[in-house]
Symmetry: C4
Subunit: 375 residues, 4 copies
């Protein structure tokens, strides 16, 4: 018998289980906000139509947007049993930092459209949990304010056309303690998101782009006119890597690009199709993952984002070989529903689901992920 | 010509068939209670919302819950014809007993939430038909009462944290003539069943856990606070096997676990995902069956449960190589609709469907199952 | 140039085509009765609930019933072009007779439940077109009346339990000029058709089983009580073949049974699952066809029935290797809508569709079917 | 860094992108007419029921019609990143002409049923963009008027039964500067389009077939009675090729026919199933493309049409190996909504989508299409 002394379990509503370790908070929640899809529904009632279209939409027919989620539903796990999962450690080592959970917050723009506290609320909720947040170049909050939140942070880089401004933006991120630069490589053009067009989306008054404005030395009203570079090649990755921070290359789907990214200095690769917002018809992130992993062959960590809405989704991606998974839109939904507390709740739900999913799959740490199968 | 003297067939409503042997009762039934799905619908009108959520629900998005059934619908049988099926013998030998039908009642908790007679009604209906019933550790009826029903019975074991209580519960089952111990290995944590959370499910007043209470020496009100072991490993299987009864290891999906179960003393394996209530995204039981069968290679019988709602479903699983199939929720539906009579009717329907399906597939006994194909 | 003198085309409603040969009648029809599905809808408004359930239904969950049709929808044809299809010959040689079209009328019982003229109307419509009709043992019309219709006819044999009656029924069919005996081998039990149970289907007053009654020497009221043999084996096929007519073995799905049928004297095989009315979950007829064809290896013709509702469906089955396809329920729908004229119209539609489909696929006769592909 | 001096980007509604090059017009459009499906919906409100049925419908059950589109949705692209796509050249060389975009207008009949300006509006919109338009033999506008529009033009040939008329029609197209002859090879019969039958479609008064009438020397009222050849074989292709223009063979699905077309003088092949209007159940054009490409092995260009509604669809076909894709119905929808301007808008949308899709896929010219994958 392997049972060690454990505190007795209190007031179980359903008796057929041994313990509630790691998942107790879920029993106290609002029954209408049980999971991340609930937050999406609740947020849709709170966000105005224009920003909602912007946050929700994908490109053209939204084939890829839907497929990002369908790809998880097509997969099945073959879990293990009778392993010791009394203590599940979801931690993972990534780019020199120990993460409490292999989930990170992917960059999303203009979060103050969802809640007045915007990116700051997101950063505080993440910091309180030791979760890495990525600040978008198109953030509506100053990168200095995010740094003051004090948590682990990455900065997502779009390259400004003006060389001085371009350098200034990156240098400021480095000086503010951002630990990695996330270089988005799938947005040389903006994908055509028809929801935006149908509702006539424009950035609301009072929501600015302070990091672009400051780097370019213009006022808030001019920030939207600041040009990005119109060409982006692997040389640009080397330029970004020259700042000394590890660079996460975000937006890789093709294995040949994964090889090129590693060859040009990527510290990590993020398999992503930009949330289905760029090339409609692009392969689902999860479906692209295996070939990228094979091409990378362990030389750098491979992350993914796109369609992760459940801890079980995260487990599928991890079991296939991803080191961590990013979530984007769900953070917006939490933010819209309840600011920092809402983001915190979204993070607690999905990290709790992952912890439980690992236990239910018989996996007590990420080092054991190879014992289960995904089919 | 191979027709032996047979009693003439009476009053056929449809003349294009030779005989009604084995399926006659179905013509007399309530046209609204023709099959097990009918019982589910009828039960949903009788069971209060909380218990209904508990009995119905699966984990998270209920992907696995749905897939358990979809897996049967994806398969097709290639039947045989012109074999002698005038007498179909559905019997099977299992763990030293001759079963009249390769269908058993899988454990479900708290049956008194469905009907005041609870597990006793189930046991009596099963006993009258020689069908093996499994009593859950979380049953709401004393295991002694079930034993008095007199039919073939298995006891499903959750391990209590207190060593004395743990041993006491198992020893009492052994002494009461339970013929096998069913060790559930996929519930070290309770899967997150969102239906329960949404309706605020709590065990109703007056429905207790007498077997846990008695083993732990506490009153009915304290039973829900009795802790289970927080770790479960293969050593625990050996401890359970030490009581001398055959142990059915319930909850295996991975072929490596099937091998380990056999190595640690399993007398039989039950391929199961706990009715889709534990790891959402786990493979459907039926889809997991072939690899487990291959791993076990005939050393012990392999059972399955999950999604069996028709005799044709049972036939598919048997033709793939299962020795028997378990049904769980349908028993609850029968119980809710009409107590012992309802359970009996549910059993008669599915065993009748199986008998007929074998005949229609040209199979007069389980030894001939290898003549048909499942694709 | 290959155009020979042809009559000019008159009054074309749409000009982008060269000719209307072979499909003109369709332009004159009731726009609500354009295809066989229209007839099904129209018939459902005319047939009483009980008989409608009987004619429409399949066994249990009707998985096989639906799959019979879905199997056609899953297939695609790769047609040929630029072949000479000015004259399409749909004719085929089968069991010594030249058929004008490779479509036959499969047996359906009790046609007088659909229309007072019943099987006689069906036989007359078929005779007028040279199409072979199969009379069911459970027909509601005397086989002598059908013979008087004068067309090519087959008799479907169920074996009566009484040896004298059994022989009498077959001998009468032989003496009345039926050209083949269709032995149904998949109905040793009646499949469970839940629609019948739900509506409480009983054979209506005034609809009898004259061929069974006459063979058994009983009155019409007793015919439904006449027993069929309760065992059916390959010896019975040899007994049927002993009457000297070619025997079409109807109800084969498994290639091993196809081999056995040939070995025991089948003159042709009909791949069928009894319209999804027997073993629910059985493979779709079309899906079973290729393996049966491979097993038979050309020794006897292979027919199929099940789900054929379009000339394009017929072409798919023929291109896969079937010699002819049977239709069952659509004949009932035509009968219900307009008696003999309705059956005729149903036959004209589907044979016209097949003729056109062959032309559109670039196939001017069945000997050229191997030039197209089905994927 | 690879950014060259570029004009600054003005007034971006969404800041997370570097440039709007090539897709700006879309931001100014009617939010109800954003894509080609919008035009279909809008057109359905403007076109009378009969012509709408004619333009919309496919044959029989419209399986192939639907599958033409579904085939695109089943495919996914694996795009490239970090390539220089600041300038995307969608141009392609085809039959001696440089095309600005690999999209052509496939022939559709009777366009004056959609708008009084009919084919002339289509031709003018195409000419203004340098896009090749194909005039149908069943056009409702004189081929001379189309020639005066001055753009690149092909003539689609149906062979008239009368040898003199047949020759006259083709010779006139040659003399009017049509650059290629499109020989439709999949319409020896007219497919059965049930929508036409249900609404009783007839060509409206005042919509004629001037090219057929003129060639046959009859009045407009007699044109619909002019017969086409009733046989069409590869010899006819050689006859058409004898006029000296390149011949595009339209309607090939089978690889053997592709080989035959090349052997008999085809200058290009168009993989097509006539918009799902001929053989229902025929393979989707996109699904037929790979085998045709393999059979042709680069000897002539391979085009396709059927189901292309998005620039991403076009990119999928091109990435699989097509040289250009045709659109048919969407042109009708644009025509119905706003005449020449509507056709122009439809062309701008889909060509803009293609240009953007290439950029988003990391492909700056058609010569780089082999760097991406379609799965």
């Amino acid at each position: 018998m392997s049972d060690l002394p454990r505190p007795p379990v209190r007031g179980l509503p359903v008796p057929d289980r041994p313990a509630m370790a790691g998942f107790e908070p879920d029993l106290t929640v609002d029954p209408n906000l049980v999971n991340l899809d609930d937050y999406e529904r609740a947020a849709a009632e709170r966000i105005p139509a224009g920003p909602l279209a912007y946050f929700t939409g994908g490109a053209l027919d939204e084939r890829t947007l839907r497929d990002n989620r369908a790809a998880f539903d097509r997969r099945r796990m073959i879990p293990r049993v009778m392993t010791d999962v009394a203590e599940v450690d979801t931690g993972v080592e990534l780019l020199g930092r120990r993460w409490p959970t292999p989930i990170w917050i992917a960059p999303t723009a203009l979060q103050r459209m969802a809640h007045p506290d915007g990116e700051l609320a997101t950063a505080r909720a993440a910091a309180a949990r030791g979760i890495t947040v990525t600040l978008s170049s198109s953030a509506s909050t100053d990168m200095g304010d995010i740094a003051e939140a004090g948590g682990p942070r990455w900065y997502q880089v779009y390259l400004l056309a003006d060389p001085g401004a371009r350098r200034a933006m990156v240098e400021r991120a480095v000086s503010l303690g951002y630990e990695a630069l996330v270089m988005t490589v799938d947005l040389q053009r903006l994908g055509r998101r028809e929801r935006d067009i149908r509702v006539g989306f424009r950035i609301p008054e009072g929501v600015g782009l302070p990091n672009i404005a400051r780097a370019a030395g213009v006022g808030d009203e001019q920030a939207a006119d600041v040009a990005f570079v119109s060409r982006l090649t692997w040389d640009d990755l080397e330029w970004v890597a020259g700042f000394g921070l590890p660079v996460v290359v975000k937006g890789i789907l093709h294995p040949d690009d994964a090889r090129l990214a590693v060859a040009h200095g990527a510290a990590a690769i993020d398999v992503s199709n930009h949330g289905g917002r760029q090339l409609d018809g692009a392969i689902a992130s999860l479906d692209a993952l295996p070939a990228v992993l094979e091409a990378v062959a362990g030389r750098v960590p491979v992350l993914m984002d796109g369609g992760v809405r459940r801890g079980t989704d995260a487990l599928i991606a991890l079991a296939l070989g991803a080191t961590a998974v990013g979530i984007g839109r769900p953070v917006i939904w939490g933010l819209a529903v309840d600011g920092e507390a809402g983001v915190g709740r979204v993070l607690d739900i999905i990290t709790g689901e992952l912890e439980q999913a690992m236990a239910l799959a018989g996996v007590s740490s990420v080092t054991e992920l190879n014992t289960i199968r995904v089919v």
